[in-house]
C-alpha cells in the first residue's frame, strides 16, 4: 500500500492528520478516529430501512472497472452508489447515478466521495451528516468539505474498507 493519510476535522475546526503505512495501520487509524464506529452506525440504520449511506465515485476512480469497488462497499454498508458528472459522461456508470446540480440530490447520514474533486456543482447535490472523502490529491477541494479525509488512491483504500465492513456483519 502506498502512503495514506487520514485527516479528521475536529469540531473546533482544527485538523488532526495521521499518516499510516500499511493496512493494519489504516484500520487502526480509522477505528481510533471514530470513522468506523460512525459507518457501522449508519450501516445499522441502513439495515433498518433508512437511506443512510451513499458511496460516490468521480473522475479519480480512473475507469469503469473501479466502480465495482463502489458497489461492493455500498453493499457492505447497505448503501447506494452515486457518481459525478465526469464519471457518468465518461460512461463508467449509468447516467441515473449522477449526483449534483444537474442530477439527483441526496441526503444520507454518510456520504463517501471517492476520487471526487469536490466541484461546487456536485457537492450542491449532497446534504449529508457526515462527509467522507477519499482522494489521492491532498489539495483536492473535496477535503475542504469533508469531515474525514483519506488521502490515498481510492482503488487501494476501497478494498480495505470493503474488508472491514464485510467482516463486521451488523456491527
Amino acid at each position: 500500500m502506498n502512503s495514506v493519510q487520514v485527516v479528521q476535522k475536529e469540531p473546533d475546526g482544527s485538523i488532526r492528520a495521521n499518516a499510516v503505512a500499511d493496512r493494519d495501520g489504516l484500520e487502526r487509524e480509522l477505528r481510533e478516529s471514530g470513522l468506523i464506529g460512525k459507518l457501522l452506525q449508519a450501516k445499522a440504520e441502513a439495515a433498518a430501512g433508512e437511506s443512510a449511506v451513499v458511496v460516490a465515485g468521480g473522475r479519480g476512480m480512473n475507469g469503469a472497472a473501479n466502480f465495482r469497488l463502489l458497489f461492493e462497499l455500498a453493499e457492505a454498508l447497505g448503501g447506494k452508489v452515486g457518481a459525478t458528472r465526469a464519471a457518468v459522461e465518461a460512461g463508467w456508470i449509468a447516467y441515473e447515478h449522477k449526483i449534483g446540480r444537474t442530477g439527483q440530490s441526496v441526503s444520507p447520514k454518510v456520504y463517501i466521495a471517492c476520487g471526487v474533486s469536490g466541484a461546487v456543482q456536485h457537492v450542491a447535490g449532497v446534504r449529508a451528516d457526515l462527509f467522507v472523502a477519499v482522494n489521492n490529491d491532498p489539495d483536492a477541494p473535496v477535503f475542504q468539505v469533508a469531515d474525514y479525509g483519506i488521502v490515498g488512491d481510492a482503488a487501494q483504500i476501497l478494498p480495505e474498507l470493503i474488508a472491514i465492513f464485510s467482516s463486521t456483519q451488523g456491527g
Partner: protein, 405 residues
C-alpha cells in the same frame, strides 16, 4: 506560516489558477495561491464553460483563441483534463446586429479563425432544431465548444503545485501590508505571509482586496442564471452552441442528455448581489423566463424536464471587460479581475499576460488595453460583450453601499 514567497496570488478560481500556472512556467515557482474557501468554489465552479472567439476587438479575439488552444489541448499542456467538447457555435443575427457580425467576422478572418457568415438556411442545416424565422443572418464558428471550468481550474492548479506553488485553501486575506518599497506582506486568517508581489485575482471579492491597498475597483457583482433542461429523443444532432441576441439567451449541450440555457439579457446586470451574501440558488421565475425565451429559437426546450438551475456571479466593470494591471501607485500590487463573464474563456490568455507583467521588464503590450485608468480616461474597450449591458456607472457599488464611490 512564516514563509516568504516570490508572489502571492489572491483567489483560487480559474484566473488565479492560470496565473499560477503561467508564473511557474516562467520559472517563478516560489509562489502561493490563497483561496478563502476552496479551489474553484466561486464563479469558476458555476461557469457554463462556453469557449468561442467572437468579439469585435482584435485583442479579445486573440485572447479567446488562446483560451480555445489551451482548453482543446489541455491534458497535453497541463497533464489534467478540461473535458473540452467541440460543438461549433452559431451566433444568430438580424438587422439589429448584422453589422456587428460582419465586423467580428472580418477580425476573425484576419486572425485566421475558422468562421463564416451563414444564411438562415445554413444555420438550420448546422442546427436542425433551430426554428428562428426572424433571424436573417448569423455567424458559424467551427472550433468552438465547451469545457469543464472546475476541472480546468484544478488542472492549472495541480500543474502549478507540482512545480513549486503552494495552494492554501481556507485561507482568507484580511489585509495587505506595505512599506517604503511597496507591498511587503499579506495578512490572512492563518498568519502573515511575506512577499513583494501580490496579484489580486479575487473575482467577485476583488474589490475588497483592492481596498486593502487603497484602490477602489469599479466592479459590480451581479447574479447570472443557468438552467438545465433534459433533451428529447432523438437528441438534437448536431447541437452547436447557439447564441440568440434577440432573445438574449445562449444554449449549449451538456453531455448527451442535457441542454444548459443561460441568459445574457442587459437587465441581468441589475440583479446585483453582494459577494458575501450570495446564495447560488436560482430564482424560479427567472429560470422559467430563460427557458421560455430559449424555446422560441429551439422549441424542443419546451418539453424537456428541468434538470437543475443555479446562478453564478459576474464581476462586471463599466465596459464589461477585465482589469489587468500592474499598479502605478502601489509597488508590487497587480490585479487581474472584473472578468465580466468572460473569465473562463479568457483565463489562459490572462494568466499568460499577468505572468508577463509580473516577470518581464518589457511585458506583453496588449495588457495596456485593460488598465484600470481607462475608465477615468474614458478610453473604454470597444467590443461586443455579453455584459455591455454593464454601462451602468451610477450603479457601480455593492448594492447596500450606495454612495461610497
Amino acid at each position: 506560516m512564516s514563509k516568504t514567497f516570490e508572489a502571492v496570488i489572491i483567489g483560487g478560481g480559474i484566473v488565479g489558477a492560470s496565473t499560477a500556472f503561467h508564473l511557474v512556467r516562467k520559472g517563478c515557482t516560489r509562489i502561493a495561491v490563497l483561496e478563502k474557501d476552496r479551489v474553484g468554489s466561486g464563479s469558476t465552479g458555476r461557469s457554463s464553460g462556453v469557449i468561442r472567439q467572437f468579439y469585435t476587438h482584435p485583442t479579445l479575439v486573440e485572447m479567446a483563441r488562446t483560451g480555445l488552444e489551451y482548453y482543446a489541448r489541455f491534458a497535453e499542456i497541463t497533464g489534467s483534463p478540461s473535458d473540452f467538447t467541440k460543438t461549433g457555435f452559431i451566433l444568430g443575427g438580424n438587422e439589429s446586429n448584422a453589422e456587428t457580425i460582419r465586423k467580428g467576422y472580418a477580425i476573425q478572418r484576419e486572425l485566421g479563425i475558422r468562421s463564416q457568415i451563414v444564411s438562415p438556411d445554413e444555420m438550420v442545416r448546422r442546427h436542425p432544431f433551430l426554428r428562428a424565422t426572424d433571424l436573417t443572418t448569423g455567424l458559424f464558428e467551427e472550433e468552438a465548444g465547451y469545457a469543464d471550468a472546475h476541472a480546468s481550474c484544478l488542472g492549472f492548479m495541480r500543474y502549478a503545485r507540482d512545480h513549486g506553488a503552494v495552494i492554501m485553501q481556507g485561507t482568507e486575506v484580511t489585509g495587505i501590508e506595505t512599506d517604503a518599497d511597496g507591498v511587503c506582506a499579506v495578512r490572512t486568517n492563518r498568519g502573515t505571509i511575506a512577499t513583494r508581489t501580490v496579484i489580486n485575482c479575487g473575482g467577485p471579492w476583488a474589490r475588497n482586496i483592492g481596498r486593502m491597498v487603497g484602490i477602489d475597483l469599479p466592479i459590480r457583482t451581479s447574479r447570472h442564471h443557468v438552467v438545465g433542461v433534459s433533451l428529447p429523443e432523438p437528441q438534437p444532432d448536431p447541437f452547436p452552441i447557439f447564441s440568440d441576441p434577440i432573445r438574449s439567451v445562449y444554449i449549449r449541450p451538456e453531455g448527451k442528455r442535457l441542454a444548459l440555457l443561460g441568459s445574457n439579457h442587459p437587465d441581468d446586470a441589475r440583479d446585483a448581489v453582494h459577494p458575501d451574501r450570495f446564495a447560488d440558488d436560482a430564482d424560479p421565475e427567472k429560470a422559467a423566463d430563460i427557458r421560455q425565451r430559449s424555446s422560441i429559437p429551439l422549441p424542443f426546450l419546451r418539453s424537456g424536464e428541468m434538470a437543475g438551475l443555479w446562478s453564478g456571479m459576474y464581476a462586471i466593470t463599466p465596459d464589461g471587460f477585465p482589469i489587468l494591471e500592474k499598479s502605478a501607485h502601489v509597488k508590487g500590487y497587480f490585479a487581474a479581475c472584473g472578468l465580466s463573464g468572460h473569465g473562463f474563456k479568457l483565463a489562459p490568455a490572462i494568466g499568460r499576460m499577468m505572468a508577463s507583467l509580473v516577470t518581464e521588464s518589457a511585458p506583453d503590450p496588449r495588457v495596456r488595453l485593460f488598465r484600470l485608468a481607462r475608465f477615468r480616461e474614458n478610453d473604454y474597450i470597444d467590443s461586443v460583450t455579453t455584459s455591455a449591458l454593464s454601462r451602468l456607472s451610477s450603479e457601480f457599488a455593492h448594492p447596500e453601499e450606495g454612495s461610497d464611490e
